[in-house]
């Protein structure tokens, strides 16, 4: 059997309370006593049982990370494979590794109610990070209203409450279109997740811009046909805003086939969730950089601060800025 705190206390000739104080560096212990206890721990090769510690304190020192909530299986796989997930994960990990917290992966198939009852209520985790924008459901509202330790990424429409980190998606979609507009592009093809009418609301120069809209973000089976169709029109767009960076290479390949040069014949802008990814292409792609790594770090800091009572405020949106990184895929016309 492994040694317990009692064995240490006996060997050191002190009480378990004192051993506990030494372990947790809490309260005042005289240097002499501390030395005795430490050498007893050493001698017995003692390491505290964290299950007992967690039980006694009702704190698991663990935060849950849920990758994607209430989405289809297809979307889930997309998330885990994405740079978005990887960067978020690295950001979270970066913070936890210096705080003594561990990351518990919350099973991907769980819905929010299961997470709440199985993990938060059962104390298996001290808090939760939700990696994607949750839907505005009754369950979610209950969680927020109960002020449970949950931080989410994104924005909750019409219910801007709770603790969340947001990179202002609408803002950067707008910024890209304006960026292209300022380079005198007036005919832009958009491939992405935002809805057509939402985009139109964002843009200032609607009368002056022709926007070709395609929402095939997670289904680019028809990419080839779509691109061919688009570029066989007599009025070709001069710029492409293609949100999904992993789809850029196929697009470039198809354009190559058609002898359409980037950027001479068509300018391209995409989105990178990891800084520098646009450099992996030929030509290097001008991208919006969404600081997902930073978002993961920020979300984790906030969560731990809230768990530990360092912040008491509960409803707050933490904004991070996305910036356009200019490379060689856009020209002024």
């Amino acid at each position: 059997m492994a040694n317990t705190i009692y064995d240490v206390a006996n060997l050191a000739g002190v009480s378990t309370a004192t051993v506990s104080r030494v372990i947790n560096k809490i309260g005042n212990v005289s240097p002499k006593t501390e030395t005795k206890v430490k050498s007893a721990m050493e001698k017995l090769n003692f390491t505290p049982n964290s299950l007992a510690q967690s039980f006694a304190t009702m704190k698991s020192k663990t935060i849950g990370f849920n990758i994607s909530l209430t989405v289809s299986d297809e979307m889930r796989d997309y998330y885990i494979d994405s740079d978005y997930f990887t960067e978020l994960f690295k950001g979270i990990n970066r913070i936890t590794q210096n705080t003594g917290y561990s990351i518990l992966i919350i099973n991907i198939k769980e819905n929010l109610e299961n997470i709440r009852s199985d993990f938060i209520d059962k104390k298996k985790i001290d808090g939760l990070i939700i990696g994607n924008q949750p839907e505005d459901t009754k369950i979610f509202r209950n969680i927020i209203n109960a002020k449970l330790p949950v931080v989410y990424i994104g924005q909750l429409k019409k219910y801007n409450k709770g603790l969340h980190v947001y990179a202002q998606y609408s803002q950067y979609v707008k910024n890209v279109i304006e960026y292209l507009y300022n380079k005198n592009h007036r005919h832009i093809a958009y491939f992405g997740a935002k809805k057509e009418d939402e985009i139109k609301k964002l843009i200032k120069h609607n009368d002056d811009i022709t926007l070709e809209y395609y929402n095939l973000l997670f289904n680019n089976k028809h990419l080839r046909e779509t691109i061919l169709e688009l570029f066989n029109k007599k009025e070709r767009p001069t710029a492409l805003f293609y949100e999904e960076l992993s789809g850029i290479q196929p697009v470039i390949s198809i354009l190559n086939e058609l002898n359409i040069r980037v950027p001479e014949d068509i300018s391209i802008v995409s989105v990178e969730h990891k800084k520098g990814l646009g450099n992996n292409f030929y030509p290097p792609i001008t991208n919006v950089y969404v600081p997902v790594y930073e978002m993961g770090k920020r979300a984790t800091k906030i969560l731990i601060d809230y768990i530990e009572g360092n912040i008491t405020e509960y409803n707050h949106q933490f904004d991070l800025e996305s910036i356009i990184i200019e490379r060689n895929s856009v020209i002024q016309i």
Copy 2:
């Protein structure tokens, strides 16, 4: 305060032992009693405290996943960003989500000794999966000799013990070279992690093959110069075995610049850790498919079986096969 098992027992008019039996579906409980207990749990909105459960059973129902052990920071980032990590992670998650186990991410900066004392000894995890091939250290041998619940990926040279899953790296390197040989390639450039002399030992037709060797797997800063140099020689290779799939696109771009066509002028083979990745290129790349997803699943199954006493054997290597998937980047010459 949240309700405890005592509250449920009182309301149902039974003992806590009986409530526990109902919760854990263990032992015999009469249907009547079960109904009473269940409705009491429902009424009180009771959910067992998993910290107390873990403490009482000394089982955390959690397995640790360590991504990379005893490697440099640079390598660590490489791992997390790689398809290898993602696929392994998905495989592990796939199994845990159906077994009641959770995944605890073991902090990336930890070394094996810290993992052992902080997680395994402290009971924070029931077992550990090590995502990469561990070095043959004293600590590692101690762990294996103590038959601790640890499963690792890869092979431990000269010390082929413990539980591990292996995709036979040497074997597939050999297979690729022979595959190219059978297509009449006699001049092959290799870019990868294996050492030159190891490769020579693997190949049958050494006298008949010219192998240009480059070990720049994790440092392709000089990729461009290297490729230019290689293809400016008068004796160009006819085939390229480039292990790092994420580097294939830059290679193709550089070849495009040089007006060297794939596969007409040069055949290319790479390695994919996720099935189908070779299709994302133009032309589609003929790849070795290493079944990392499957490896993650297998490792997790073995670990859980060992933890739960379903297997008692400790020293076993579980082999998985890597296969070559033919696409359009290799020609017969």
